[in-house]
């Protein structure tokens, strides 16, 4: 797997490179700003990209803009955005084109090496990965509708929104695959969503519900 990184902080980028090297993942280029990143993507055609939200020159949200621009140039380009803090408007902007292959994580999560690499692979494979904090923010904004769900169903919903599959969810909650399947069916019914879809599309359906303007 080949990864292009957009990160201006050398300390961080060297850390991420070190981590990826330990997992046998190749990093052909680390770009220090938005335009450099877009050019690097064109040059290397990576399997997945890692982008810091704050990049030079203003250190505001250049990373998000650069990611969206690179994605317009190469539709479907998998992007994992790392941020100092998570804000659901950023999640919504990243998810807006509905193409999947998007991740949005706090920088802290990188330190959970295996989980981070798993998330990276999910995004590379076209999946959607949302930081638990984003999911929490989305859920907290929908308390009334979410109230209809049982505690267990809420746990399942949170894990689903993070992009985990049924097997993974079952393992984490120590319940069987068929129980997971039943919970998901109930969730979709209670939230009034169309019948369950597979893969990242169901994540998108859930996130779209959570993030939708009424």
């Amino acid at each position: 797997m080949r990864v292009v990184i957009a990160e201006d902080n050398v300390l961080l980028s060297s850390g991420v490179e070190l981590l990826l090297a330990a997992k046998g993942i190749e990093v052909p280029e680390v770009a220090a700003d938005g335009p450099g990143f877009v050019a690097a993507v064109r040059r290397h055609r990576p399997d997945v990209t890692i982008v810091d939200v704050r990049l030079p020159p203003t250190f505001r949200d250049e990373g998000i803009r650069a990611a969206l621009e690179a994605r317009r140039a190469s539709p479907g380009l998998p992007i994992l955005v790392l941020s100092q803090y998570v804000e659901r408007v950023y999640a919504r902007e990243l998810l807006a084109d509905g193409g999947g292959a998007v991740g949005y994580l706090l920088k802290d999560r990188v330190a959970r090496v295996s989980e981070f690499v798993a998330a990276l692979r999910t995004v590379a494979a076209g999946g959607t990965v949302m930081d638990p904090e984003v999911v929490a923010q989305l859920m907290s904004g929908r308390e009334r509708r979410i109230d209809a769900l049982t505690a267990r169903e809420r746990e399942v919903l949170t894990l689903m929104a993070q992009g985990r599959d049924n097997t993974d969810i079952g393992a984490r909650l120590t319940i069987t695959g068929s129980a997971v399947h039943k919970h998901i069916g109930n969730i979709f019914t209670k939230l009034g969503l169309p019948p369950e879809e597979g893969g990242h599309r169901r994540v998108l359906a859930v996130l779209a519900f959570l993030g939708s303007e009424r």
Binding site: L11, Y85, S140, R144
Partner: protein
């Protein structure tokens, strides 16, 4: 000797005119508060104060009279003037005591019935007049001029000082806000980045070493400690200066707040332009707290956030169509908003009758 008599005459004349003018001022006083009367009163005061200045031989004052000038002048002018009138009257009347009818004699300190008491009382009155009139007149003239002028100088100084303090306060707040923004940057891009880099290395080391043995335990503790520190750091930054404000400005940050609220929020942001960082942060936290209240208690179906800058005031309004009855004494939301507003010399108004709607308006001064 002649100068002495001139001084007495001038003092006496000043005091007698004061008697007339003071009595004339008395019935005007009730109208002094009327705006229409102000110019006339100012001219009247200026004329009297020119007389006082002429008596003292000093230039007429450049500043206007004080607020209570009319009252003071009317009362002191009339009372002192009347005393001077009495004294002068006795001096004049004493030599002609014999003109009074025998059954209603001239009364000075006692009834006058011969030249002896007449000249005696007359002399006492004359001495009082000669000795008293000039210093009393000058004293009164100084008071008429100097008192109000002092007050004016004090008022001017205070006004100036208040303006200075207002400016320096705004400058301090501005610097403080900018400093918060800088610290947020430093913490996020410096300290947090270092922590993440450290945690990554610990994570890689843990994976390489496996999870057995005393070293693995130490590594795990260090790794988890670093993660806890990152969570705490993020929380500290968030309550100090919202990072979205630095990244997206007030409009973007408020839109993010609205999107996070359970109740649909309509955002109206009118020409706020460039605002001091402290003001932006205050507006952000105020809207955040207000929207939390709306989501928690109002049962509203729609909320409106309006931020507007007009005439040196930043207006922040959060309204909803909920059940109302916001009670400031219960819960900390409104109290927190009031405190934030007060810290910036602003004010909060809450209108929330039972049954709704609720309207919360914060006005924050901002130099334009």
């Amino acid at each position: 000797m002649r100068e002495r008599w001139t001084a007495v005459w001038r003092g006496l004349r000043y005091l007698l005119v004061n008697l007339v003018c003071g009595l004339a001022t008395l019935p005007l006083l009730p109208f002094a508060a009327l705006p229409a009367a102000a110019p006339g009163l100012r001219r009247w005061a200026a004329w009297n104060r020119r007389r006082a200045a002429a008596l003292l031989g000093v230039p007429a004052p450049a500043t206007g009279p004080g607020r209570w000038w009319g009252v003071e002048f009317a009362l002191t002018g009339a009372v002192i003037g009347f005393a001077a009138f009495l004294a002068a009257g006795r001096v004049v009347a004493a030599p002609v005591w014999w003109l009074y009818p025998a059954d209603r004699p001239l009364v000075l300190l006692a009834p006058v019935d011969g030249w002896g008491p007449a000249l005696g009382f007359g002399a006492v009155a004359l001495v009082l007049l000669v000795a008293g009139a000039p210093p009393v007149a000058r004293g009164h003239a100084r008071r008429t001029l100097a008192g109000p002028a002092d007050l004016d100088r004090l008022t001017d100084r205070l006004t100036e000082r208040v303006a200075e303090l207002g400016e320096s306060r705004a400058a301090v707040l501005d610097a403080h806000g900018a400093e918060l923004r800088r610290i947020e940057r430093d913490l996020h891009d410096g300290t947090q980045a270092r922590l993440v880099a450290l945690a990554i290395r610990l994570g890689v080391a843990r994976e390489a070493l496996g999870d057995r043995g005393p070293v693995a335990d130490l590594l795990r503790e260090a790794h988890e400690g670093a993660e806890d520190a990152m969570v705490e750091l993020r929380e500290v930054i968030r309550t100090m200066y919202p990072p979205i404000l630095a990244d997206r400005g007030l409009g973007g940050a408020l839109a993010a707040l609205g999107a996070r609220c359970d109740v649909p929020v309509e955002l109206r942001l009118d020409g706020t332009g460039e605002l001091p960082a402290a003001l932006e942060a205050a507006a952000y936290f105020i809207v955040a707290e207000a929207l939390t209240n709306v989501a928690k208690h109002s049962r509203a179906s729609q909320a409106t956030v309006r931020v507007e800058r007009a005439g040196g005031v930043l207006l922040v309004e959060v309204a909803d169509d909920g059940v109302g009855g916001v009670d400031e004494t219960r819960g900390t939301g409104v109290v927190g908003i009031r405190r934030r507003a007060a810290a910036l010399d602003g004010a909060l108004r809450v209108s929330s009758p039972h049954g709704g709607p609720t309207r919360l308006v914060v006005e924050l001064p901002c130099a334009s």
